[in-house]
């Protein structure tokens, strides 16, 4: 029996990319306006009672840590309740979960969840790459983002015979989907050879195995189940969610062929939603690197452990495959503006369940879509949200 106490009645995002011309505030305003405009029966911005803003890093201008009081002014709602949620790469999906709980608690009837990330006001060296020098001075020294995932690829290839071609097929598929998504950072097709021939970033991952650094923002509007009908005849319900953590250091992992945080978060979300992996019609999963998507589809139960590579190469996760994954283009093609990523994935699920995904539309016979992120130090935190277009239980 799904939870279904909260409805998503609006969602939108801005075109992702290197948005040198837009400020953090302008991106947020754009995403909020898109969400407001998407509400079928109309929506007055002032109806927002509280906002949860996901920003993982912030910008050169110091928004990190103070997104909570930057966003209300930026979106024209100074004075509203607003709280920043930071939970690594799942920041956006966790803000969504917290927003849903805030509505379900009865404290608020209308909540805005907005994810905003300005990644490209800083150079790559000062931005994500600088984390090579962060953290423990010895045990994480040199640990750029690919180092959190590439050791899993090395081990997955060793234990299951996963090949670089199988990894590359994930990037090829997601770029294909991204080329159909007007909001995607990259809108071009690539080939397996392109991936194999791209420069090595962190063995065994090459450049096109990696997501780009992207600016972006996305927003969704959540309302309580009893008020959903005021806004739309076609709401999408929060069926369930799960959050889980794992040890923060890679050397504390007991396995390098699965993300245990994902497995635990998925189990909690499936239990709450009363569904299993075979009930899911499509999923937006965390493909910061090609290996991550292969781990995800195994850890989320869509394919047997160890079979993620062959399944991807065989097209099982394509738009016309058994379980379409990352119809939006995923992090690899749509981009990964960290705080915005999870919220944008929710928007894609919302479109798919409402039949509004255009050329990317897939069949949703069961009416369930799953959204997933995993990240943080040691990829030690994961959030899974499950959405449904099935009628509420009440």
């Amino acid at each position: 029996m799904s939870w279904n106490r909260v409805a998503v009645v609006g969602g939108g995002l801005i075109k992702f990319g290197e948005l040198f011309e837009q400020s953090y505030e302008q991106m947020a305003a754009g995403a909020f306006a898109a969400a407001v405009d998407s509400v079928d029966e109309g929506f007055e911005p002032t109806q927002v009672e509280a906002a949860f803003v996901a920003t993982q890093r912030g910008t050169l201008w110091g928004q990190e840590g103070i997104g909570g009081n930057t966003i209300p002014t930026a979106i024209g709602l100074p004075g509203i309740a607003c709280t920043r949620i930071e939970n690594a790469c799942p920041s956006g999906s966790d803000a969504f979960r917290v927003g849903a709980m805030a509505v379900a608690s009865g404290v608020y009837d209308v909540v805005l969840v907005i994810g905003v990330e300005k990644m490209r006001d800083k150079s790559a060296e000062e931005g994500l790459l600088a984390r090579a020098a962060a953290g423990h001075p010895i045990f994480t020294r040199g640990e750029t983002a690919p180092v959190l995932f590439a050791p899993f690829a090395t081990r997955h290839m060793y234990e299951y015979g996963t090949t670089r071609e199988m990894l590359a097929s994930v990037a090829v598929k997601n770029h294909h989907n991204g080329a159909l998504d007007p909001y995607a950072h990259f809108q071009n097709e690539i080939t397996i050879e392109n991936v194999l021939d791209s420069p090595e970033v962190c063995s065994p991952l090459h450049l096109l195995d990696c997501c780009p650094q992207t600016d972006g923002a996305a927003a969704v509007l959540l309302v309580s189940a009893e008020h959903a009908a005021r806004y739309t005849k076609n709401p999408v319900w929060v069926a369930g969610f799960g959050v889980a953590t794992d040890h923060p250091y890679l050397h504390e992992k007991s396995t390098f062929t699965a993300m245990q945080a994902t497995e635990s978060a998925a189990a909690r979300a499936y239990a709450m939603a009363g569904v299993g992996p075979t009930d899911i019609d499509c999923a937006e999963v965390h493909d910061c690197f090609t290996i991550t998507e292969i781990l995800d589809i195994e850890d989320l139960g869509f394919v047997e452990k160890g079979k993620g590579g062959p399944a991807s190469l065989a097209g099982e996760t394509s738009l016309t495959g058994r379980i379409p994954i990352n119809t939006s283009g995923g992090l690899l093609a749509k981009g990964h503006p960290i705080g915005a990523t999870g919220v944008a994935q929710i928007v894609e699920c919302w479109w798919q369940l409402r039949g509004e995904a255009g050329e990317r539309q897939v069949a949703t016979p069961n009416g369930y879509a799953l959204q997933h992120n995993v990240g943080g130090r040691g990829s030690g935190v994961s959030v899974v949200n499950i959405l449904t277009n099935n009628r509420p239980n009440s």
Partner: protein, 463 residues
């Protein structure tokens, strides 16, 4: 044997890189040049070299490390101009917090000063086991004649009051306030001689003659003598009638290893009964000491292997590693400043490579200071213990994309140690020798150098 200053064991170490002299010459528009010098990789320095030599000597000695009474370290380039150089090395070797000793520095003669100071401590009875470490990696001035001769290496000697198959005998020192090679306060690299002939005729040859003639009266078979330019050593030997210069092949392999040169040149010959004279030179001082060997000294047979090998690298790579070729961009600062509290809390667990073994389930948690609860069972009772220094690779990557000051390729490996602990650490070299299952050892290396602080930790090295 009438001395009570005995040599129980010896060890040696050399850095990872070798630079062909022809490469240096080519850099300055000159052709030719044969042979090579040893050079520190960016994660090595006289401290890491010294620790490696010390651990080899101590392993060969069969002694428990905590009975060593002190460390006497001679180097012309301690990693801190002022700071805890000696303390960091002592702790990384695993010496007791109660151990004593001294850091001798200021010139290449400091190796002899460390040896003599340790011998004096044994003689005075203030130490029964003294560890002597001599190590150096002089940074020669760019374009100097000495640049093609300047090498790097380390030697260690365990002196004891009782036992050991060799003993120190007569020794002497001569002091003259002459300038040879020098480095001003705050200067990065060592300056060349003002006048090579002045050095040769008025300083080097007379100094060596005086010491050599005295030691020559003692019927010495083997000699370790300095050779600052690749010719003077052989010249002096010929003039003194010395037939067996055991330091020559060491200099051929490593170049002039500065403060380490005298001992490093001689300890390999302690592998057989006989006699040895060791002469050290620098900073206006020349010293010599007689060594009588009754039987092979522990560790001496391994010295030759410890100083061979190494990877040939370019002159550009060397000048960058030495800090003489510096990029114009910004470097990324350490997230945890190297003078901050985490380094105070973490000094022991990092330098001694400690783990916290859970009393309830046996799981080893690393590092202890960030694990108030066991990662396996949640237990809170731990026993601190040094981690095994060997294991095998569980998985690994080679990171090619990092901002300065990182240098790609940077291997990073998850290693299952023989005691069951799992660690993730950087690897030495380019990682081409790492595979899943590769057997590795953990070695002390310099992870970073920032705000004047060298940061040391362990790295993974394929066996």
């Amino acid at each position: 044997m009438n001395s009570n200053i005995n040599i129980l064991a010896v060890g040696a170490a050399s850095p990872a890189w070798r630079l062909n002299r022809a490469e240096i010459n080519a850099g300055w528009g000159n052709s030719g040049g044969t042979g090579q010098v040893a050079v520190c990789a960016p994660d090595e320095d006289p401290l890491t070299l010294g620790v490696e030599a010390a651990l080899r000597a101590l392993n060969a000695s069969g002694l428990q490390i905590d009975i060593v009474d002190g460390l006497w370290w001679g180097t012309s380039r301690p990693p801190f101009a002022e700071g805890p150089s000696h303390a960091v090395m002592a702790r990384a070797i695993g010496l007791s917090a109660r151990s004593t000793g001294a850091l001798c520095s200021g010139s290449t003669h400091s190796g002899m000063e460390a040896l003599f100071s340790a011998a004096d401590a044994i003689g005075a009875g203030t130490a029964r086991v003294a560890l002597v470490v001599v190590s150096d990696a002089i940074i020669p001035g760019l374009g100097t004649s000495y640049e093609t001769r300047s090498g790097a290496g380390a030697a260690a000697v365990v002196l004891v009051s009782h036992g050991g198959n060799a003993a120190l005998g007569a020794r002497l020192t001569r002091t003259n306030p002459y300038l040879d090679r020098y480095r001003g306060d705050g200067e990065l690299s060592t300056r060349d001689l003002y006048d090579p002939r002045l050095f040769r005729e008025e300083i080097f040859i007379p100094s060596l003659h005086e010491i050599g003639e005295h030691l020559g009266t003692l019927d010495i078979a083997n000699w370790s003598i300095p050779d600052p330019d690749g010719r003077l050593g052989a010249l002096v030997a010929r003039q003194l009638g010395i037939k067996s210069v055991v330091s020559a092949p060491v200099i051929e392999e490593l170049g002039d290893t500065g403060a380490a040169a005298a001992l490093l040149g001689g300890i390999g010959s302690l592998d057989a009964a006989g006699s040895l004279a060791i002469i050290g030179f620098g900073g206006g001082r020349t010293s010599g000491v007689e060594v009588r060997i009754n039987a092979p000294v522990r560790g001496a047979a391994a010295v030759a292997k410890s100083i061979t090998g190494g990877t040939s690298v370019s002159y550009t790579a060397v000048t960058r590693a030495r800090g003489q070729l510096v990029g114009s961009g910004e470097t990324v600062p350490m997230g945890v400043p190297p003078q901050s509290a985490q380094f105070v809390r973490g000094a022991d667990e990092i330098l001694n490579l400690l783990g916290a073994r859970c009393v309830d389930c046996g799981t080893i948690n690393t590092p202890p200071s960030i694990h108030p609860h066991c990662i396996s069972c949640g237990g809170t009772k731990f026993v601190l213990e040094p981690l095994s220094r060997q294991g095998q690779v569980h998985t690994y990557v080679i990171n090619q994309t990092m901002p300065a000051p990182f240098i790609a390729p940077l291997p990073i490996a998850v290693v299952d140690l023989d005691d069951g602990a799992r660690v993730m650490l950087q690897g030495v070299g380019d990682g081409s020798d790492l595979k899943i299952g590769t057997k590795v050892e953990l070695v002390l290396r310099r992870y970073a150098y920032e705000r004047g602080v060298p940061v040391y930790g362990y790295k993974v090295k394929a066996i």
